[in-house]
């Protein structure tokens, strides 16, 4: 190793940590089929989001025997669903669909 190569430069990690989760949370398992599923439809209020999600429900309903929907309209594009809406989704829906935009 030359003298120049032996110089050690220290650099600090500028991040708030690894992007991978370090806790035990995981994604929910994906269902094999939507037969009998209750669909959570989470609209963020932008554009024709509710109409679009309703159409998605109809389309999925032509492929599987759905068992209804839990529709949630967020109070704002900038926030997560309200606690009561989370409770409805987690207790009543077996699958949830949402969109991203803004």
């Amino acid at each position: 190793m030359t003298e120049r190569e032996s110089v050690t430069l220290l650099g600090l990690d500028p991040t708030s940590g690894p992007l991978e989760r370090r806790d035990d949370r995981t994604f929910s398992s994906r269902p094999e089929s939507l037969d009998g599923a209750v669909l959570g439809l989470v609209a963020n209020g932008l554009g024709q989001g509710e109409t679009f999600l309703s159409a998605v429900y109809d389309e999925l309903g032509s492929m599987a025997a759905l068992n209804g929907a839990v529709s949630v309209l967020k109070s704002s594009v900038s926030v997560a669903p309200e606690p009561a809406d989370w409770a409805r989704l987690t207790s009543e829906a077996s699958v949830a669909i949402t969109g991203f935009g803004g």
């Binding site: 120049r4 190569e5 032996s6 110089v7 050690t8 430069l9 220290l10 650099g11 600090l12 990690d13 500028p14 991040t15 708030s16 992007l19 209020g45 109070s75 704002s76 594009v77 900038s78 926030v79 997560a80 991203f100 935009g101 803004g102």
Partner: protein
């Protein structure tokens, strides 16, 4: 004492290659953030490394002074810029500055830092000709430091939590000062309740940044009519989360400003003239959804020549103004 993980490199080139490989830069070279330099920056701001500057709850992120210092070093800041960087981060992490939305949005909104008060001249933050462009170390590196924090600490990484379709070159860096000496107009920070000798940083998340060029108007009412045409074409939108606090920033160049000054118009006179006209959009006009005349923020800047005013249309956020804490103690620590 800094706590971040340390990495050793045999050369600057090796460090730079590794930082780029890890996704820790904006694509441009960075200054190596050595522990000594980071300590120096913390000292300059009078902050302990673990002092919390803010958080992004939806991302489970807490931003500390150490994060700010590391990224400010990387951005090329001088230590004395650090208090401005800290104020800008605090402003951006205000709940209503809406970090999660404004840095994740498909629209590629950018964060603009406007500096007021004596520190502009002390740090040579450009407020005059070419103040939006390259060539000014303080402007370039303070704005870049905020964006590196947004990327590295707040995790707004393209393709991950930054979902911009095109993004924007304004996201490399955007910082300038108000030209407070150009007139007797009340500076932005004074209008927002700070004393004239208190320096501040205002952060405004901007979706659309466009000039209103008008060489023909010769009076304040005519210039206002040109502005109204632009405002009605783009509009200002809001949502329930933001309530009535949304802001629109107009940066008035000297060629337009002089018509107002010659007629004796203050910033508030401009707002009072424009406000009723916001309330009456015509067919095809987009609404200007500001909660009050004070939602319109008027800033003087730029150089002579072009008769223009620049519009900074918001992206679902309030413009937040934070005081810059100057250090006058022997140790630097507060």
């Amino acid at each position: 004492m800094v706590n971040a993980e340390r990495h050793e490199y045999p050369s600057y080139d090796a460090l730079l290659d590794d930082y780029i490989e890890r996704g820790w830069t904006d694509g441009l070279p960075v200054v190596p953030p050595s522990p000594e330099k980071v300590e120096q920056f913390l000292e300059a701001a009078g902050l302990n490394s673990d002092e919390v500057l803010g958080a992004v709850p939806t991302r489970e992120v807490v931003v500390t002074a150490e994060h700010a210092a590391i990224n400010a070093v990387m951005a090329g800041c001088r230590p004395e810029y650090m208090p401005v960087v800290v104020a800008a981060i605090r402003a951006h992490l205000h709940e209503k500055a809406n970090c999660h939305s404004t840095t994740g949005t498909l629209s590629g909104a950018s964060q603009i830092v406007i500096v007021n008060g004596p520190i502009r001249r002390e740090l040579e933050i450009n407020c005059e000709g070419a103040c939006f462009g390259p060539g000014w170390r303080a402007n370039a590196t303070i704005g870049r430091a905020l964006r590196l924090v947004i990327r590295n600490v707040c995790r707004a990484i393209p393709g991950f939590l930054d979902r911009a379709s095109f993004s924007s070159p304004l996201r490399y860096s955007f910082c300038f000062g108000e030209n407070e000496e150009a007139s007797d107009w009340a500076p932005l920070h004074v209008e927002r309740g700070h004393s004239a000798d208190q320096s501040t940083a205002t952060v405004h998340s901007t979706m659309t940044f466009v000039p209103c060029v008008d060489f023909t108007s010769r009076g304040p009412e005519e210039v206002c009519e040109s502005w109204l045409g632009m405002l009605r074409r783009y509009g200002v939108f809001t949502d329930r989360f933001l309530g009535d606090g949304q802001n629109l920033v107009l940066v008035v160049g000297p060629e337009h400003q002089r018509y107002f000054l010659e007629a004796g118009w203050t910033k508030d006179d401009i707002r009072q003239h424009l406000w009723p006209r916001f309330q009456n959009p015509g067919p095809g006009d987009r609404p200007v959804m500001l909660g009050s005349p004070e939602g319109l923020l008027i800033v003087a800047a730029g150089g002579p020549g072009m008769a223009e005013t620049w519009f900074m249309f918001p992206h679902l956020a309030w413009a937040i103004t934070e005081p810059i804490q100057s250090i006058h103690t022997e140790t630097g620590r507060r």
